[in-house]
Symmetry: C2
Subunit: 400 residues, 2 copies
Amino acid sequence: MANNTITAPKDFLAAGVRCGIKKSGNHDLGLIVCPASAKAAAVFTTNKITSAAVEVSKRHIKSATVYAVVVNSGNANACTGQLGIKNAIKMCSETAGFLVVDPHEVLVASTGIIGEQMPMKAVSAGIADAVGQLAGSAVAGMSFTKAIMTTDTKPKTACRRVEISGKRVTIAGTAKGAGMIAPNMATTLCFITTDAAITKPLLAKAIRLAIGESLNKLTVDGHQSTNDTAIILTSGLAGNPLIVKQGPAYKKFANALIDLCQDLARQMALDAEGATRMFKVVVEGAATKADAAKAARAVANYDLVKCAIHGGDPNWGRIICAVGSCGIKLNPNRLSCTIGDIAVFRNGRPVKFSPKRVSKIISRKEHTITVNLGAGKFSDFCFGCDLSKGYVTINADYHT
Amino acid sequence: MANNTITAPKDFLAAGVRCGIKKSGNHDLGLIVCPASAKAAAVFTTNKITSAAVEVSKRHIKSATVYAVVVNSGNANACTGQLGIKNAIKMCSETAGFLVVDPHEVLVASTGIIGEQMPMKAVSAGIADAVGQLAGSAVAGMSFTKAIMTTDTKPKTACRRVEISGKRVTIAGTAKGAGMIAPNMATTLCFITTDAAITKPLLAKAIRLAIGESLNKLTVDGHQSTNDTAIILTSGLAGNPLIVKQGPAYKKFANALIDLCQDLARQMALDAEGATRMFKVVVEGAATKADAAKAARAVANYDLVKCAIHGGDPNWGRIICAVGSCGIKLNPNRLSCTIGDIAVFRNGRPVKFSPKRVSKIISRKEHTITVNLGAGKFSDFCFGCDLSKGYVTINADYHT
């Protein structure tokens, strides 16, 4: 079987180990290494309170080359003051020591409980262990993915292969869910590897674009974490001529990257905390692009819509209520709503429909809600998921 | 026992009947009547999609005198087009017919499912029935309260008696909960009666102030309904000299009104859909009053905070995360948080505390979370409630 994990692109090694940060004993420390050196770009959380890992990686991403990313789950290293920063730097320098590179050439990411200091003894042992287990296999790639999971029930990976200038370019990615997820710059932790030969500025442009069209259009609970980080690394070894401008080669690369990131976003929605199904909200007829995005997000974030979808209940009134209260421009006499392919509200008036048929649509694993604001020509979308008792169970007991 | 319902102030009658709008057969139509005529003021939803009742009452509130308010639950009469407006007007004119007053002197309010036409045959019979049962008793007042309940498990009433210029002035109020509640102008349905002699402009000023300090600082689920309406009626018969300026008499009246509205807000939080407890978020040290209000609301709206409180889990990291992501100004090195009287985070660093003691505090029926942003001298607050599986159960099955 083909390797579809983050070790699929040329010259990537990975590992994931259990070092004891998580009380459950599950995988909690992962490593990605690009031995011949990679170019890297990243998108970070816009939360004003950022984790120590985010602060350190924001500095290190400026390095021309990067050799590794070290990641842990089970502890967010956020709200941990100067000691937290020291520990995040230590994670980089210890990894760098094993690889004989500069600490600035290692990125770090963390996820887990906020406000507790990292158990550095366990982390140091984990880094040593992970270095020893580095491999380019699918098993190694999957071990890394396991190591970034928190409340996820399934690992999330995606891979795309495209031909660019006659050469096969591979892009692979992995992301963690499953809560504290809302669209605002970068969401969750996401790591992407590729072998495309591309300049660092264009790599940065592509990752920002792709995250904008995927993870930033996903909301699980409207919450943005202190630790959100999406990193892309390229070994540049695919053999394609270096992509230096936004021509066809760039577009092909960027489109594959968007497609891959949307695949990950969909997996995250389907495996969101307590979620049993996902949906896409498309808003059309908006006065501005920003209005369209805001309205789509408002519907996807609306607990009452999420509950109705969980119950298979064709309660379209809540969709209209969400749109009406989110502060965007709309024409009440032109406002329309379609669930799947069935119109439920048209030009400000209810439409007779079969509740049974609509209920069947919203009970599917995936469905689309379309709202036309009748106020202009702009559109945008947002992915969302249902709200179940499972979300409450997971989040009422997460800490202890 | 003293009458503490909306019939307590001088010259108010009320009734509540079952006319068959609700499938459950519970009370669903209520009437308040002030035979000698009342001055009225109101605050309405700022949702861009408003119910027919809101549209009609917005016109009728301009009348110099009002004789009655007719209210139904079980059907919101929202998103119902021109027929909806016609039906809301009909509810006023039928009530007016029985009372031999002008239809413009009757206000109307509705709550319930969005997007279905009012069953006018049942409603007309209900109005006739209610007129026949009008009485000034506590039983009649309580029947009205029952008729505005939706998913409420308890009726919500409050009463205050104050001496103004040597005369006893009574203010009584009732409100419905329990979902689709967020602070933005008026929230939910709320009806207040009083016998204070006060001008219409000052009555309007006082109700706006009181709602701003109470119901507008309450969030159950961050959702603002299409039907939100708060109405105050005064018979003016308490015997106090007419309040014509913002002097001590006005202040005494306004303070009693604020106190009464905060009482109702607290009752709503405690009986919110699925809620088992409530909390108050106080934000201090904000750069502006608006920042303080926004941050307090962000914490109270944050599902992960609400879940943690439900689980009795001292997960203060989520409070910090909510504050950090809501877009207000803060000083990360001065940011502090106290739960009850226990500091958990001070000047950007965690504080050692007893999780057991904090867990005990947040497991109480009511507790206070205080956040200092370290960015200025402004403060504000917001009431919230926990998020339980009950909320999901209620809202996944509400429609059918």
